[in-house]
């Protein structure tokens, strides 16, 4: 905890160290840029050529350095490769002084680095230590001896780095040291002095390899130390926060933290209660609605508005109720229809004998009167009714179903002379393939009723029965007016929907029902969801397709 608080206190000083270090970077780059401009200056380059410069040009060059874009230059000295010195106009310095000043040696073997160094000023005569910026000046074009450029900087040059940090220097010791660890500029709090031990630590860091933040908030004897080293010039910025400042600051921070903690705890309690209520209330409501549901009353919906996932759970519950209700209604309707259907079936089985006898009598009368057409029609009707009425089973062979539809077609051909011809193409074994009875007749009826409503002759009806991909497929094609796309889409969309929806879309008493509801209901009741019943408008007619899962096997239930 103490370390955390120490970190909080010293972070601002560490930040200041880094900021001052970056300012040091900028200051170095500035000296680099200014000396670069000097090197590239035409007159400076001219001074390096073999041909000596005119006196007037030399004077001009001396003044040039006085106007460079660098603050806090105390003195400058440029020496060309012909031992000419260029200094301020009032400084008449002999070349020997320059040679004796040992400035050149400070530049080392580097080709043209910008060097910062601190040394006693023997050139301009003060004898005091000062910061110098120096650089070799090479010719752009020729392998001549280089010239040398030096700026002696005022103390304000480095002090400008800390002008903005005045308030912090009242508390912490800040300084700038050269690569040897000599302190070139410092700002210490009143009464502060560096101990010998501290000076040794600083000197070690000054001579350390690497650059950037060398150390941050390191505990040393008497305080906390941060050091930032500039990469190119090797000068370092250090900040030492004395222990007494740390103690004072830590106490302050401790109280602030305590208040913050108390505040946080208070807020946490309030928020906990608030959120607890917010989350548990809707859960309770949901729980009550579920436990109270008796399977009869579907009107008790849950209304949640928490703007959380609980709302979705509530909505899902409501939707589930709605679905259950719909399914129950469906089941009830189906049961009712089933009962009615069974009743009708029974009724229809009572009368066949009477009907057949009557038809036989009419047939005999027609034969006596040689009414051949009447005979054919009665024969066809008789066959048609035989399947429709006499065979109680709902499932018949394809042979019977085709016989039935053929009878119906013959009756219609007699009724509508020349209106149409028909073909039946059965690719399955008609005796061994079973199908729900009376599913083709409504489709054929639709073909005549709607397909041929605008023609008077030449229509074609093709019935095709085949197996494909494990399904029994029955198609009825008519060459009449193609079914309207809208109607076809409406019918096709019924596949996969609930039967109740189909009935709503095609009520039994609707005029244009296409017998769809009847056929689809029976197919779905018999074969389930897998059956497909589709209409497709062709270029020259309409095809209705029934796809029955399985291949019309004779299951027990089919008997």
């Amino acid at each position: 905890m103490r370390n955390i608080m120490m970190g909080i206190v010293t972070d601002k000083y560490n930040f200041m160290t880094e900021k001052t270090g970056i300012s040091l970077d900028t200051l170095y780059q500035k000296t680099e840029k200014v000396t670069e401009e000097c090197i590239l200056n035409d007159q400076v380059q001219q001074s390096l050529k073999a041909k000596p410069m005119e006196e007037v040009d030399r004077n001009s060059l001396s003044k040039y350095f006085a106007y460079i874009d660098l603050d806090h230059v105390s003195e400058y000295c440029y020496v060309d490769n012909k031992k000419n010195l260029y200094t301020r106009s009032y400084s008449k310095i002999p070349y020997q002084y320059f040679e004796d000043s040992l400035l050149v040696q400070q530049l080392g073997t580097s080709y043209a680095d910008t060097r910062w160094f601190v040394m006693k000023d023997y050139l301009f005569g003060t004898g005091e230590e000062a910061l110098f910026v120096g650089r070799k000046v090479h010719s752009l074009n020729y392998a001549h001896e280089p010239g040398y450029l030096f700026f002696k900087m005022n103390p304000e040059f480095l002090q400008s780095l800390l002008l903005e940090e005045d308030n912090l220097t009242q508390e912490a010791a800040i300084g700038i040291m050269d690569p040897q660890g000599r302190i070139c500029a410092y700002w210490y709090p009143e009464g502060f002095t560096l101990s010998t031990e501290q000076e040794a630590v600083l000197a070690d860091y000054a001579q350390t390899q690497g650059y950037g933040s060398l150390v941050e908030n390191e505990k040393i004897s008497g305080g906390i130390l941060s050091v930032y080293k500039q990469e190119e010039c090797g000068f370092s910025v250090f900040t030492l926060v004395p222990e007494r400042v740390l103690g004072k600051e830590i106490t302050k921070v401790f109280w602030v933290l305590l208040v913050i903690y108390l505040l946080v705890i208070a807020i946490a309690v309030v928020l906990s209660i608030y959120f607890s209520n917010k989350f548990t209330k809707p859960i309770k409501e949901l729980n009550r609605a579920m436990t109270e549901f008796n399977g009869e009353d579907f009107s008790k919906l849950v209304h949640l508005n928490t703007k959380t996932e609980l709302d979705q759970i509530g909505n899902a519950y409501n939707e589930m109720l709605s679905n259950i209700k719909e399914l129950l209604d469906e089941i009830r309707t189906q049961q009712k229809e089933l009962r009615t259907s069974e009743l009708n079936m029974l009724i229809s089985q009572i009368n066949p004998h009477f009907l057949y006898n009557t038809l036989d009598t009419i047939y005999m009368l027609a034969r006596i009167n040689k009414e051949e057409t009447t005979m054919n029609m009665i024969q066809a009707l008789s066959k048609y009714l035989r399947l429709s009425l006499s065979k109680g089973s709902e499932i018949v062979t394809v042979e019977d179903e085709l016989e039935n539809v053929k009878s119906y077609l013959q009756i219609q051909q007699i009724r509508n002379e020349n209106l149409f011809t028909y073909t039946i193409d059965c690719e399955v074994d008609p005796k061994e393939t079973w199908v729900l009875k009376l599913i083709l007749q409504p489709l054929v009826e639709n073909s005549i009723k709607y397909g041929f409503c605008e023609i008077y002759e030449g229509g074609q009806i093709r019935i095709h029965v085949y197996k494909q991909d494990g399904r029994l497929i029955l198609t009825v094609y008519n060459s009449g007016i193609p079914i309207a796309e809208e109607m076809a889409e409406k019918i096709n969309a019924l596949n996969g929907r609930l039967l109740s929806e189909a009935r709503k879309l095609f009520p039994k008493n609707a005029k244009n029902g296409y017998g769809v509801s009847n056929v689809l209901t029976r197919l779905r009741l018999k074969y389930g969801e897998g059956v497909l019943f589709t209409y497709r408008a062709e270029q020259d007619g309409t095809t209705c397709t029934i796809e029955i899962p399985g291949e019309g096997e004779q299951h027990e239930e089919n008997l």
């Binding site: 041909k51 020729y142 933040s213 903690y261 906990s272």
Partner: protein, 422 residues
């Protein structure tokens, strides 16, 4: 539940205030060695020069070396000027090029030990040395026998001749490029008579375009060819110097009005906007032909099957002030470049040319049939002549303000001045 949330929020509050120990920001060296280099982006076409080479190297040496390219929008001439500035401020990249196109600079760099001697590396790695054509290696070898320019593999890409516009030639009723200098001057006259400016020239820089033609013409004679082979000729006050002045003056009578005091980019624009029928330059300009130009741009050697080339101008140098590991990496890059250049040549000469641009077919034909390769004046003649004298003398010569004799005199003064600086 309430209690749990309370504890959780308290925990979050406490941990939020704790903070983490700040990281040490002392920079660590990466294991990948970075090789700084500057490549130019052509100001006229926007094309990044040598991008494919850089990408190929970085891909081949991923994780080991990285060619750290600084892309700079500048002309080749500006790059050369910047080289000198970067040298005196000690801010050169690790690999530099175009060094020997400024002889005085090249000599200075060698004398001041600024360039790494590559001959030990060549001797150590004979597989590298054997990939270099003897003509190229000879050109890249300095007077003292050391090699400061990492050579390319072949001179196949280094030759300069004449690009010409077939459509403009056709308008003047000319159906082929002249094969003799006599025919060349007749060709210029015919183009001029048909209202077509024959030559795209300029006077700034080192007068590259007019100087290419003039030095190729100079080498027609035996004496002229011998003169062109001299390194830093001490005298231009002879028949060769005079002929050079005469040819230059004549050339400027066939060029555009804006040629004076303009740089090569103006000549380039004039040629590719159909304002002039011919422009001299090297193989590398094929890549700089605008995309919308068709097969009407052709290439021929200068008359008498003459090409201008100094393969050493394509040698790249390693700056010696870099740490040893960077220099070693830079040498690896130069080896890679030699190999890359070798493969380029093999591809170029072995490819099916059916669908290739006509100008490329022309270049290959001219290269294979060249009777004479004239050294590039840029690597032979003194820098003062190239950079100061020609810029002043060419416009005067073009405007007939000085005679060829005076031109020779100005050139000769540059020789003296250069000698004095040496």
């Amino acid at each position: 539940m309430t209690f749990f949330l309370l504890m959780m929020l308290c925990g979050m509050a406490v941990s939020g205030c704790a903070g983490t120990e700040s990281e040490n920001t002392v920079k660590e060296e990466s294991s990948v060695i970075s090789i700084p280099i500057i490549f130019t982006v052509d100001p006229t076409t926007g094309k990044k020069n040598n991008q494919e080479l850089a990408d190929a190297f970085n891909k081949a040496y991923a994780g080991k070396y990285y060619l750290d390219v600084e892309w700079v929008l500048e002309t080749e001439e500006e790059y050369r000027q910047n080289l000198r500035r970067m040298n005196v401020t000690d801010s050169l990249p690790a690999v530099i090029y175009d060094v020997c196109t400024i002889p005085s600079f090249y000599m200075m760099m060698v004398e001041e030990g600024r360039l790494e001697d590559l001959s030990p590396y060549l001797e150590e790695d004979l597989s590298w040395k054997t990939k270099i054509e003897p003509f190229v290696l000879q050109g890249s070898t300095y007077a003292d026998g050391e090699v400061y320019l990492g050579p390319i593999s072949t001179s196949a890409f280094t030759c300069a001749g004449m690009f010409w516009n077939e459509d403009l030639f056709a308008q003047a009723g000319i159906d082929r490029f002249p094969e003799t200098w006599e025919e060349f001057w007749e060709c210029c006259d015919t183009l001029k008579e048909h209202g077509i400016t024959p030559l795209a020239l300029h006077t700034e820089g080192t007068g590259w375009a007019p100087m290419l033609i003039a030095t190729a013409a100079l080498a027609e004679s035996k004496e002229g060819a011998e003169f062109m082979r001299q390194m830093l000729p001490e005298s231009y006050d002879n028949e060769s110097g005079l002929y050079l002045g005469e040819v230059l003056q004549k050339l400027f009578s066939y060029t555009t009005d804006d040629a004076l005091h303009a740089d090569y980019d103006v000549a380039y624009s004039n040629f590719f906007s159909d304002k002039a029928a011919m422009i001299p330059n090297g193989y590398w300009q094929i890549d700089q032909i605008p995309e919308n130009r068709g097969d009407e741009i052709r290439f021929s050697s200068f008359p008498e099957h003459t090409l201008v080339a100094s393969p050493e101008t394509f040698g790249w140098a390693v700056v010696s002030s870099y740490p040893d590991e960077v220099k070693a990496a830079a040498v690896e890059f130069l080896k890679f470049r030699t190999e890359y250049n070798k493969k380029e040549k093999e591809t170029l000469f072995n490819q099916d040319l059916t669908d290739k641009p006509q100008v490329l077919k022309d270049y290959l034909k001219a290269f294979s049939r060249a009777d004479q390769i004239v050294p590039n004046y840029q690597v032979k003649w003194n820098s003062i002549l190239q950079e100061e004298t020609l810029g002043v003398a060419l416009p005067l010569l073009a405007e007939q303000k000085i005679t060829p004799e005076k031109f020779v005199q100005m050139v000769q003064e540059s020789v003296l001045e250069f000698k004095a600086e040496q």
